[in-house]
């Protein structure tokens, strides 16, 4: 799959630009519901998604990471605190920040090609430039043969690649990915990591990637944000200084990667345990004692 990336004949059609865009979240609060039913999801959460880096956010499942994505994408607004893009507060969705959702959000009634062309057409940019770029991207994600197929006819991995192409045609300053490879089998998942990392390394635009998978996080990340259990805030930030381009084999055999993995696991284990015990002191004590006994 990675060989398809080195297709120089059409490379000039890809006029992807490099942007420098930074997102800063400071003291963000978000809760759902009102009165006695209110549920605090994000509490005093601050972090920076640095410019031209791949920032991966990892935390226990159901910890409010998706809520943060909704806020950054501009689909929802924070109760208090601020989220800024290059210093300007985010007020709504925009094509500068594109989101790849957990489940495929390809439009089932459009073919692969029409899905990719959705953004340009929606903005009235159905030009030669856009169609050339669509062709280039179809080629790049290896779906030329599937251009007239509907999403239902594609495999999970193909759907993810079609969605990457649909996002990239809009030349977003920032790509936001919400557990995009969840549900893929392990082989396709690892292929997608390498594939996605390759695409990222081409222009190194700001990417924000959310996951619950430690291996995925370490393989992809320049910076790793570790989140606390609900209500979410930032627990730790780790710079992943493993050189790029990375390979699955290289990362598996890297002592540095394993060191980081241990560190991340310790932190996540604590958070997961809080989440597992659901706030009960007795359950937490039991889990703690139990995990020590196993060690």
């Amino acid at each position: 799959m990675s060989t398809e990336l080195k297709d120089d004949s059409t490379a000039n059609a890809d006029s992807r630009e490099q942007f420098s865009s930074e997102i800063v979240a400071s003291n963000v609060y978000k809760s759902y519901g009102a009165g006695p039913f209110a549920k605090e999801v994000v509490v005093d959460c601050s972090f920076t998604i640095e410019s031209n880096k791949l920032t991966v956010m990892i935390g226990p499942s159901g910890c409010g990471k998706s809520t943060l994505i909704q806020l950054i994408a501009g689909f929802e607004t924070a109760d208090s605190g601020s989220i800024t893009l290059n210093g300007k507060p985010i007020t709504g969705p925009g094509k500068d920040r594109l989101v790849l959702f957990q489940e495929s959000a390809l439009f089932p009634w459009m073919t692969t090609y029409d899905n990719i062309m959705y953004g340009p057409r929606a903005r009235g940019e159905d030009t030669k430039e856009s169609t050339d770029l669509a062709e280039f991207l179809l080629n790049k994600v290896g779906l030329e043969a599937f251009r007239d197929k509907y999403p239902q006819q594609l495999s999970g991995g193909m759907q993810r690649r079609a969605e990457l192409a649909r996002a990239m045609i809009n030349k977003p300053e920032i790509m936001i990915l919400d557990e995009p490879f969840r549900g893929l089998d392990n082989m396709s998942k690892e292929l997608m990591w390498e594939y996605y990392a390759n695409i990222y390394e081409e222009d190194r635009n700001t990417n924000f990637f959310v996951t619950t998978d430690i291996d995925e996080a370490i393989f992809l990340a320049d910076r790793l944000l570790i989140m606390t259990n609900l209500p979410t805030s930032t627990r730790a930030v780790i710079e992943i200084d493993i050189p790029r381009p990375r390979t699955i084999e290289g990362v598996v055999n890297s002592p540095r990667a394993n060191e980081i993995k241990k560190e991340v696991m310790t932190l996540l284990h604590e958070e997961a345990m809080k989440s597992f015990s659901g706030g009960s002191k007795a359950a937490a004590d039991f889990l703690d004692a139990y995990s020590k006994r196993v060690d």
């Binding site: 994408a73 689909f75 969705p93 594109l98 989101v99 439009f107 953004g119 197929k149």
Partner: protein, 274 residues
């Protein structure tokens, strides 16, 4: 569809099963209807029904009769008139209720109170409201399909995956573009289902309305439609013709639904790929 394809479909196992089932049904009916002659004992129910052979003879006599076909024509006209009106008013109404919360809040309670009223309960009122019998039948037919279509469109449009809307929004789509290229196609399968169900109800309603109102503008006779055809056969004591009328409605309803299914399939090609 080419000839070969059509042939293989016609002689397929499923078609054969269907034909055998119809044949068995006809034999049981025939034997049951003639049970008094054959066994000297009249079977319950079936013994009172005219046998299919007599029905087909009676049907053969009607095939060349223009007033029989006039009944078909009139019923079809009423069904498609009421049904088309229900689509033209019901689809936009359902979509508008789905996208506009204020309108939904204002209109939905009234809609939900009116919806359980059976269309046939409207017959007397609609005869009073509308200047002609024809319009009152058309109105009752319209009601038969209207509520089903609106409820289906509304349900379909409200259950659109939120991520489709968010994805479109973040790619810079306008409200109109989202409506036209996301909401509308996402609702199409529900529109097709609602229409198919609505079409079935329309046939039920039109026949009953024709019986009750005495056949519309013509006051009976030629322009009465299939419902009135059955009723007048009953009054005239021609029991074979009652059955002919019943089977005619079955066939008419089947073709109407099949037409909608085919149209629906053309409009939603992506569903076939599942």
């Amino acid at each position: 569809m080419n000839i070969k394809n059509f042939r293989s479909k016609l002689f397929s196992r499923a078609a054969l099963r269907g034909l055998i089932a119809i044949a068995i049904f006809l034999v049981i009916w025939e034997v049951g209807a003639r049970s008094e002659q054959l066994f000297g004992y009249r079977f319950p129910f079936l013994g009172l029904v005219p046998p299919p052979s007599d029905v087909f003879v009676s049907w053969g006599g009607l095939i060349g009769n223009p007033s029989y076909w006039q009944s078909w024509y009139m019923s079809f006209l009423r069904v498609f008139g009421g049904f088309t009106a229900a689509m033209i008013i019901g689809i936009p109404l359902g979509l508008f209720m789905a996208v506009n919360k204020t309108f939904y809040g204002m209109y939905f309670p009234t809609f939900e109170i009116m919806r359980p009223i059976p269309p046939l309960a409207w017959v007397p009122a609609s005869i009073i409201f509308w200047p002609t019998q024809e319009l009152s039948i058309a109105f009752v037919t319209f009601l038969g399909a209207f509520y089903t279509i609106v409820i289906n469109v509304l349900g379909g449009a409200r259950s659109i995956n939120k991520q489709y809307l968010q994805a479109a929004q973040s790619m810079g789509a306008s409200q109109w573009d989202i409506f036209r290229r996301i909401v509308l196609p996402a609702t199409l399968p529900s529109i097709v289902v609602g229409s198919a169900v609505g079409m079935g109800i329309t046939w039920e309603v039109v026949v009953a309305a024709e019986m009750i109102s005495g056949g519309g503008s013509s006051g009976g006779g030629e322009g009465g439609g299939l419902g009135f055809f059955i009723w007048s056969s009953y009054v005239g004591g021609s029991y074979e013709q009652i059955v002919v009328g019943m089977i005619s409605i079955g066939i008419a309803g089947y073709f109407s639904s099949e037409l909608l299914r085919q149209l629906g399939g053309l409009l939603t090609p992506w569903l076939k790929t599942r």
